[in-house]
C-alpha cells in the first residue's frame, strides 16, 4: 500500500475515532468449518494453519490489504512464503514468521489455505 494512502486511512481513523473494529462487526466472516483431518499428520498441518488465522482471519478470510489468503492458489502462496523466508520479498513481519518453518511445512500450510474456499 502506498504510504500516502496509508496515511489517509490512519488520519481517517484519527478523525472518526472508529473505523476499524466496530464496523467490521457487521462484516464478520463465517469461516468454513472443515472437520479435523483423520490422520495426525494432516491434522497437525490444519493446526499450524489455524495459528496463521489470528492475523489472516478464520478460514483465511481476513480484512485488510493482502491479508485474505484463504482459497488462493497454493503455488502463489508457497512462492510468497519462500520469498519472505529467503528475504527476496519485502515484508513488515512475514519475513520474521516464515523463518520459523521448514520449506516442507510452508508448502503444506500453503496447500491448506488453498483448500479453503
Amino acid at each position: 500500500m502506498p504510504i500516502r494512502k496509508a496515511q489517509l486511512l490512519v488520519a481517517r481513523w484519527a478523525r472518526t475515532g472508529a473505523v476499524g473494529l466496530a464496523l467490521t462487526g457487521a462484516a464478520m466472516v463465517h469461516a468454513q468449518a472443515p472437520a479435523p483431518a483423520s490422520n495426525v499428520s494432516d491434522f497437525q498441518v490444519q493446526l499450524w494453519a489455524s495459528s496463521c488465522m489470528s492475523c489472516h482471519g478464520p478460514g483465511g478470510k481476513a480484512v485488510g490489504t493482502g491479508l485474505a489468503i484463504g482459497g488462493k492458489p497454493a503455488q502463489e502462496l508457497y512462492n510468497k512464503l519462500l520469498g519472505y523466508k529467503n528475504g527476496k520479498l519485502p515484508a513488515t513481519v512475514m519475513h520474521q514468521h516464515a523463518k520459523g518453518y521448514s520449506d516442507e511445512e510452508l508448502s503444506r500450510i500453503a496447500d491448506h489455505f488453498a483448500s479453503l474456499k
Binding site: 504510504i3 467490521t24 485488510g64 514468521h97
Partner: protein, 425 residues
C-alpha cells in the same frame, strides 16, 4: 445439588456406559463428550470456537459472566482518545448462538475435579474436559493504601479493558493543563509486556497535543523496559523528550489515593494528579483455588502439547494464567494460539487419534507509539520434545526497524482479524 439429582446423574452415566458397550457411534473414540470452558477471552472463546469447528456434535459450555467482551489490545488507544470502548467491544450473544454453545452467564466460583463439576452460583456444570482461561488477578498485598475495594476503585489499573479504561481516560481529560500523571509497572511476569510502555507513549502523545505543560512519570519495578526496549527508548527520546520521565527499579510501597501520592522504597514520595497503578498479577482465582497454580502458587503449569494442567488431570489452562514457556509472553495473541493447540489435543483424544506432537505457534504484537505510528515484535515457538517445553525458533521473529504508519494499518487489521478469529460468528 440434591441427592436425587446426583443419583440421576450417576444413572445417566451408567446408561451412557451401557450405550457405549452396545456400540454407540462414539464407541471407538471412548468419548468424553462435554467440554466446559471457563472464561470468554482470547483463550477460552478461541478454544470453544475451534472445538466446535473440529467437533460439530460436541457439547460445549461457556461460563462467562459478562455480556460483552472488551479486548485489552487497543485499549490504550481508548485511554489516548483515538478509539472508544464500543470500538473494542463485541457482545457474546451472536457468538454463542452461531456456534451452538451453551452459555452459563455467571462467574465460575469453584471447580470440583473429583466430581468433575464447576460451580456457578447454585448451578453445577458437569464436564469431561475442562478448559480454564480466567486471565489474571491483581495482587495488592504489598501495596499499603490499596487494601480495600473502595481504595482500589479510586486508582484505576485499567489493565483489564472496560470501565477502568474509561475512568483513566476521563481522569486524563479532567487533569489540569500542567498536571502530572504517574504510572507504575509491576515486576514481570505480567499481562502484555509491552503494554505499559505503549500506554506511556500514548499518554505522552496526549500530553504533547493537548496538555504540553503536563508530565508523565513512569515508575517501573523492573530494572529496564521489558519489551521493544530500544524502540520505545528511541521514540521517547526523539518525540517525547521532557514529557516522559522513566524511573527503573521503583518498588511501590504505598498509595494515598485521596492525596494523590505514591511512595516508593528508594525514590520516596511522588505527588500526581492522575495515578495509574498496574499491580502485580497472578493466575485467576478460580484456577488458584482449584490447585492449578503449582508454579510458585502464582501460575499454572501445563503440558505444552495439550495445555493440560500438570497439577490436575482433565483440566486445561490457557492464556495469562499459565506458567509460560521461555520467551512466551502473556498476550491475547498467545492465548488465541494456545487455544487452538488445546482444542486440537482435546479433539484428538475425542477421536481416538494421536495428539499432534509438533505444535508451532507464533506471537505478533503491535504497539502504538503515537496516534498513527506503530512498532511490533514477533516470535515463532516450537515444541522441544527433550525439554518438554515451547522454545522460540532461533533466527525467526524480530522487531520493527522503526515506527511506521504502515504498521498502524496492519495493527488495526490484526485487531479486527483476531477478534473475528476469537469471537466471530
Amino acid at each position: 445439588m440434591t441427592g436425587l439429582s446426583m443419583q440421576r446423574r450417576q444413572l445417566l452415566k451408567a446408561g451412557a456406559g451401557a450405550a457405549a458397550m452396545a456400540g454407540a457411534p462414539w464407541v471407538g473414540a471412548q468419548a468424553p463428550r462435554r467440554v466446559v470452558v471457563i472464561g470468554g477471552g482470547f483463550g477460552g472463546a478461541t478454544a470453544a470456537r475451534y472445538l466446535r469447528q473440529f467437533n460439530p456434535d460436541l457439547s460445549i459450555t461457556l461460563i462467562e459472566p459478562a455480556d460483552t467482551f472488551v479486548m485489552c489490545p487497543m485499549s490504550n488507544r481508548v485511554v489516548h482518545g483515538g478509539l472508544q470502548l464500543r470500538d473494542i467491544s463485541r457482545p457474546y450473544d451472536r457468538f454463542v448462538s452461531r456456534h451452538g454453545l451453551r452459555w452459563v452467564r455467571g462467574r465460575a466460583e469453584a471447580i470440583d475435579p473429583v466430581a468433575r463439576e464447576v460451580r456457578v452460583g447454585k448451578e453445577r456444570v458437569p464436564y469431561d474436559h475442562l478448559i480454564v482461561s480466567p486471565g489474571v488477578d491483581y495482587v495488592y498485598d504489598g501495596i499499603e493504601g490499596l487494601q480495600t475495594a473502595e481504595q482500589q476503585a479510586r486508582v484505576p489499573h485499567a489493565w483489564k479493558a472496560g470501565p477502568q479504561t474509561q475512568m483513566l481516560r476521563d481522569q486524563l481529560q479532567a487533569m489540569p493543563e500542567n498536571g502530572v500523571v504517574a504510572m507504575t509497572i509491576p515486576k514481570v511476569p505480567y499481562r502484555c509486556p509491552p503494554g505499559p510502555y505503549e500506554r506511556a507513549s500514548l499518554i505522552a502523545h496526549y500530553l504533547q497535543t493537548r496538555k504540553p505543560k503536563g508530565k508523565l512519570l513512569v515508575f517501573d519495578a523492573n530494572p529496564e523496559i521489558q519489551a521493544k526496549k530500544g524502540l520505545f527508548e528511541a521514540v521517547w527520546k526523539k518525540r517525547y523528550a521532557g514529557l516522559i520521565e522513566y524511573v527503573p527499579s521503583a518498588d511501590l510501597k504505598s498509595v494515598d489515593a485521596a492525596g494523590g501520592t505514591l511512595r516508593f522504597d528508594m525514590q520516596g514520595e511522588v505527588k500526581a494528579q492522575v495515578l495509574n497503578v498496574i499491580p502485580p498479577q497472578r493466575a485467576g482465582e478460580v484456577a488458584r483455588n482449584a490447585g492449578l497454580a503449582n508454579a510458585g502458587n502464582r501460575w499454572c503449569g501445563v503440558d505444552f502439547l495439550s495445555y493440560e494442567s500438570t497439577a490436575v488431570g482433565g483440566i486445561h489452562v490457557l492464556g495469562d494464567s499459565i506458567a509460560a514457556a521461555p520467551g512466551m509472553p502473556k498476550s491475547g495473541h498467545m492465548a488465541n494460539q494456545q487455544a487452538k493447540v488445546c482444542a486440537g489435543a482435546i479433539t484428538a483424544r475425542l477421536r481416538g487419534i494421536e495428539v499432534p506432537s509438533d505444535p508451532i505457534i507464533a506471537n505478533t504484537c503491535y504497539s502504538f507509539v503515537s496516534q498513527t505510528d506503530v512498532i511490533h515484535v514477533a516470535s515463532v515457538h516450537r515444541y522441544d520434545a527433550a525439554k518438554k517445553t515451547m522454545l522460540p525458533v532461533p533466527g525467526a521473529g524480530g522487531l520493527s526497524a522503526e515506527p511506521s504508519v504502515i504498521e498502524g494499518i496492519y495493527a488495526m487489521a490484526w485487531a479486527t482479524n483476531i477478534l473475528n478469529d476469537t469471537l466471530g460468528a
